[in-house]
Structures are given as structure tokens and as C-alpha cells.
């Protein structure tokens, strides 16, 4: 996904070459340096070894178990955040006074890193599933809430005035004017939250878990199974990028009208 690209890109051999060259060189170095022992293969096993190990754990079902558990945690936390933060965000910008009332707490909590709250959550909920879900929920909720608030505040006042001058009811003002113009912001919030909840997932599984991809990474590091650790890291990173890429293309599709209006 290229957010920086403004030039129109055409698919073709040149495009593919340009997109894959740097990553290709990186992977090549990963293969060659450890084989030639420029980097100790104990800290960085060659790519081929990591890939064979990845193939091995994905065929014998070990990886599948961890992915399933991690995804379940991430999805529950994320969707809980989606279903509470979006309505709550709309309520918080109901009026200027309500917004002013809630603003300090929103500003404080959005800047509180979820890891700082981890000991509090551990204390209140123990090291079970609930603690992990709450951490993911917390991390995912704030970016969403803020994007809803920003979105509503960015609604063009002319639309609202025009609709009001035609004596629109509050309910249809919300559904016909405010909600549609907030959607691009919500989609952006959905993407940022999804990325964040992947980070929170790893953080939650690092401490006191016995399953999940985050656990697998740290467990294999302790057991000194380095190639397996790299395999797990590759899996987790690809999963994160897949989620980000999917939501980014959705975002592009849904905000086409907004972007063209800006130009």
C-alpha cells in the first residue's frame, strides 16, 4: 500500500519490478549473510531455514491453533470496541457543551498507552482471557472514538444549516446528513484501530498467556528455537499487513468522492 504515491501507477512488469526490488534485496541478504556467516546463523537463521520451519509448523497444525486463538481474541476485542465506540462517539458530540464536558477525559485516555494500564487490568481481572480482551478493547476503542468525533465536527455547517432550513427532523438530520459525511472518518478509524489492536494483541499475549502468536514468539525465544520464532514473527507481520492492506483499500474505495472533492 503506497500512501505516499501520488503518481498514477500502472500495473506491468516495470511496476512489479519497482515494488518488489527492495524487498527482494532484503530477503536475499537475509539468505546470504547467515549462510556466509557474516551474521551468526544462531541469531539470524537463513531465510530458507525459516521458511521450511514455517511450512512445517503450518502443515502439522501447530500454527493454526495459535492463529485461531489470536484471531479470536483480536476480533472479540475489536468488535466490542467498534460497537461501543462508534455510538458513544456520536453521543459525545451531540452538542458543544457535551463535547466540552467529555473532551478532557478523551484526551487523557487516548494518550495513555495501553501498556501502562496493563498492570491495573491484571490487578482487576487476573491474567485470564478477560484481561487480554480488555486491553485490546481499550486500545481499539480510542482511535475509533476520536475519528467519529473528528468526523462529526468536520461536517460542513452549510449542509446542516440547509437541512435545518428545510425543517428536517433531528433523526433524519443524523441519518441523512451527519452519518454519511462521517463515514470516511469512521473507515479511517476502523483501519487505525485494527492495526492498533494487533499491537495490543501481541502485548497482551507477551505477558501471561499460554497460547496465541504473541506467546509463540516469546516462548520459542526462551526455548532458543530461533527459526521457529522467526516463522511466528513472519506470520504475525503478514497477518497485520493483510488486515491493514484490506482496510486501506476499503478506505480508498469509500473515500473516492472525498478525495476528488479536495483536489
Amino acid at each position: 500500500m503506497s500512501l505516499t504515491g501520488t503518481r498514477k501507477t500502472k500495473f506491468g512488469p516495470r511496476f512489479i519490478f519497482r515494488k518488489t526490488l527492495a524487498i527482494g534485496v532484503f530477503l536475499l541478504i537475509w539468505q546470504i549473510f547467515p549462510t556466509l556467516e557474516i551474521i551468526s546463523p544462531r541469531t539470524l537463521p537463513p531465510l530458507s531455514e525459516v521458511l521450511t520451519r514455517l511450512w512445517e509448523i503450518s502443515t502439522n497444525g501447530e500454527l493454526k491453533v495459535h492463529i485461531a486463538i489470536s484471531l479470536k481474541r483480536a476480533l472479540i476485542g475489536y468488535f466490542a470496541a467498534v460497537f461501543t465506540a462508534i455510538p458513544l462517539g456520536f453521543l459525545m458530540v451531540w452538542s458543544r457543551k457535551v463535547n466540552q464536558f467529555f473532551n478532557p477525559i478523551v484526551q487523557l485516555f487516548r494518550n495513555t498507552s495501553s501498556l501502562a494500564l496493563y498492570p491495573v487490568v491484571l490487578l482487576l481481572f487476573g491474567i485470564g482471557e478477560t484481561a487480554k480482551l480488555i486491553i485490546i478493547f481499550w486500545t481499539a476503542a480510542w482511535p475509533l472514538l476520536i475519528s467519529v468525533i473528528d468526523g462529526v465536527r468536520a461536517v460542513d455547517a452549510i449542509y446542516v444549516k440547509a437541512a435545518k432550513s428545510m425543517s428536517i427532523s433531528t433523526v433524519s438530520l443524523f441519518f441523512r446528513v451527519i452519518l454519511p459525511s462521517t463515514i470516511p472518518y469512521i473507515v479511517t478509524g476502523l483501519r487505525i484501530s485494527a492495526t492498533r489492536s494487533m499491537v495490543a494483541l501481541v502485548a497482551a499475549e507477551m505477558l501471561g498467556a499460554s497460547s496465541g502468536l504473541g506467546f509463540l514468539i516469546f516462548d520459542t525465544q526462551h526455548k532458543d528455537e530461533i527459526d521457529k520464532m522467526y516463522a511466528a514473527i513472519i506470520t504475525l507481520i503478514s497477518l497485520g499487513m493483510l488486515v491493514n492492506f484490506g482496510l486501506a483499500s476499503l478506505e480508498k474505495k469509500l473515500t473516492v468522492w472525498k478525495r476528488s472533492a479536495q483536489i
Binding site: 494518550n111 495513555t112 501481541v202 516469546f218 514473527i233
Partner: protein, 291 residues
């Protein structure tokens, strides 16, 4: 946010001006203004007061187990003892050194590199996929690799904070340099400007808002990573401190540490937002890339 504040300030000023004209000489407008500012202040911070009061009352009356949530006054006195014994500063200093080495190291790496990459667009086009991949791979996932490479000493922590800062700042710097209004560049060129002067006088000033946005996002990232790095394999620092207090059941001190970290995050964010607003006052459009 800033815009709204400016608008309310402007409307307040114009209101008080008109009032001053109509009832000149009387004290009423001043009293009114004071009341309005006071009301604004109360409304802005009411929720904080309410939360603090509830936090004090609930444990005191036993509606919440005071072991799990000690009264706010206990937390404050816990913080006071931490300050008095110097235990807080011991951890705080360690954390500050780590985060400033990592954060400023990341900036020192990312900003020149970003300007370079934004200037040489072909190079940027080839490297961009790798940069995007690095930015999108969650830092915590990579932490074990950093431990493998650098051991569990200071180096690994500083390196991972650097990593977390670098990519956001880099992408924002590239975007800032690349997306300078072509009209500005063309008109400078038509006046026969040289490359270096173009970079220094046109491109860099125009890129600053975007760079500052990157710095703000990078700062938020570096606080998160600092705590993560101190949670695992560390015996000092603020991140270690809160987990240590939790394990030792020194709950008021733990809450004090958490509140301090939250306020630290808020302060850094506010300062950088102010800087950003000031620097972007002339420049409406800013580019956000970050999480």
C-alpha cells in the same frame, strides 16, 4: 481543535468588544467575562473533578474493594512518598535517558533520510515498499529479535525505541518533501533558484508541518515502546516500576506510576500539537500517516 479554540477566542473577544462599547465604564462586562471564563474552565474540567471525587468516595465507603482501587488521596500520598524517597527519580531518570536516546536518535536518522528520499523520487519509489513493510510490522513483534541481536541491555531498548520512531517520521518527511505545491517550486525555478537553495528555502519550510506531525506520532510510539521494553527483561525504568509495584502489591504506588505515565503522554502530545498548530497556521492542509 485548535481552530475551534481560536474561533471561540475570537468570538469571545468580539463579544466583549461590543459589550465594552455599549456599557462602557461599568464593571459588568468584566465580571461577566470572568464568570464566562470560570464557567468554561469548570465545564472543561468538570469530568476530571467528578472522576477524582468518585475515586475518593467509592473506596472510602467500601463500594469498591479499597485494595484493588485505593482512594485517590492514598494514591497521591503514595506518589509523595515515592518522590520523597527518591525511588521515583531513580526510575524516571533511566527512562528519560532511554527514551531521549531512542527518540532523538530516530529523528536524527529519519529526517535527513526522509529529505533525501523525498528529493530523489526514483530512489524513494524503489525503497518505499520496504519502508511501508517496516512501518506496518508491529514493533513489539520484533522485540525478541532486538533482544537476540543486542542482548537485554540498554542497547536493545534504545534500538527498539529508535525503530518505533524512525518509520513514522521517515514516511511523513518523505510525504512532506514530495507533496510541496508544484506552483511554489515552478515559480522559484522560474526565478532561477539553485537546487540547494530550493531545498532550503522552499521545500523544507513547506515540508515542516508534515514532519512535525510525524514527530508527534513518533513520540507517542516511543512512549508505548519504552513501557513495553521495560516490561520485559529490565530492572529499572517507569515501565518496570509499575509492574514491580503490582507484583509487590504496592497498589497506591502502582496507580501513581500509571497516572504519571498517562499525564506524561498527554503533556508530550499537547506540546507537540501546539507546535504543530503554530507552524501550520499558514498551511491548512496537513498529511496524516500514522496510526
Amino acid at each position: 481543535m485548535g481552530v475551534e479554540r481560536a474561533v471561540t477566542r475570537a468570538s469571545l473577544m468580539s463579544q466583549s468588544l461590543t459589550e465594552a462599547k455599549t456599557v462602557r465604564g461599568s464593571l459588568r462586562p468584566i465580571v461577566k467575562k470572568v464568570l464566562r471564563v470560570l464557567g468554561d474552565f469548570l465545564r472543561s474540567f468538570a469530568i476530571i473533578f467528578i472522576i477524582i471525587i468518585l475515586w475518593e468516595i467509592f473506596p472510602k465507603f467500601g463500594w469498591i474493594d479499597p485494595f484493588l482501587l485505593p482512594a485517590f488521596s492514598d494514591v497521591v500520598s503514595g506518589f509523595y512518598t515515592l518522590l520523597k524517597t527518591g525511588e521515583f527519580f531513580k526510575h524516571f531518570n533511566v527512562s528519560i535517558i532511554r527514551i531521549s536516546c531512542g527518540f532523538f536518535g530516530g529523528l536524527a536518522l529519519a529526517i535527513p533520510l526522509g529529505v533525501f528520499m523525498g528529493w530523489f523520487k526514483t530512489f524513494e519509489e524503489y525503497v518505499n515498499p520496504l519502508v511501508e513493510a517496516c512501518r506496518n510490522s508491529s514493533v513489539l513483534t520484533l522485540y525478541p529479535i532486538f533482544i537476540l541481536l543486542f542482548g537485554i541491555g540498554e542497547q536493545a531498548k534504545i534500538a527498539i525505541i529508535m525503530w518505533g520512531t524512525t518509520w513514522v517520521v521517515l514516511l511523513n518527511t518523505i510525504a512532506g518533501v514530495k507533496n510541496v505545491d508544484p506552483v511554489l517550486i515552478k515559480s522559484a525555478r522560474s526565478m532561477g533558484i539553485r537546487d540547494l537553495a530550493l531545498l532550503r528555502k522552499v521545500v523544507l519550510p513547506a515540508a515542516i508541518p508534515s514532519i512535525i506531525t510525524g514527530i508527534r506520532l513518533g513520540a507517542a510510539n516511543s512512549i508505548l515502546i519504552l513501557i513495553a521494553a521495560e516490561m520485559i527483561g529490565s530492572n529499572s525504568g517507569l515501565g518496570f516500576m509499575i509492574f514491580y509495584f503490582e507484583a509487590r502489591y504496592a497498589i497506591p504506588e502502582m496507580y501513581a506510576g500509571v497516572i504519571f505515565l498517562a499525564l506524561m503522554g498527554l503533556t508530550v502530545h499537547e506540546i507537540l500539537c501546539r507546535v504543530e498548530n503554530r507552524l501550520t497556521a499558514w498551511h491548512e492542509k496537513s498529511i496524516y500517516f500514522g496510526t
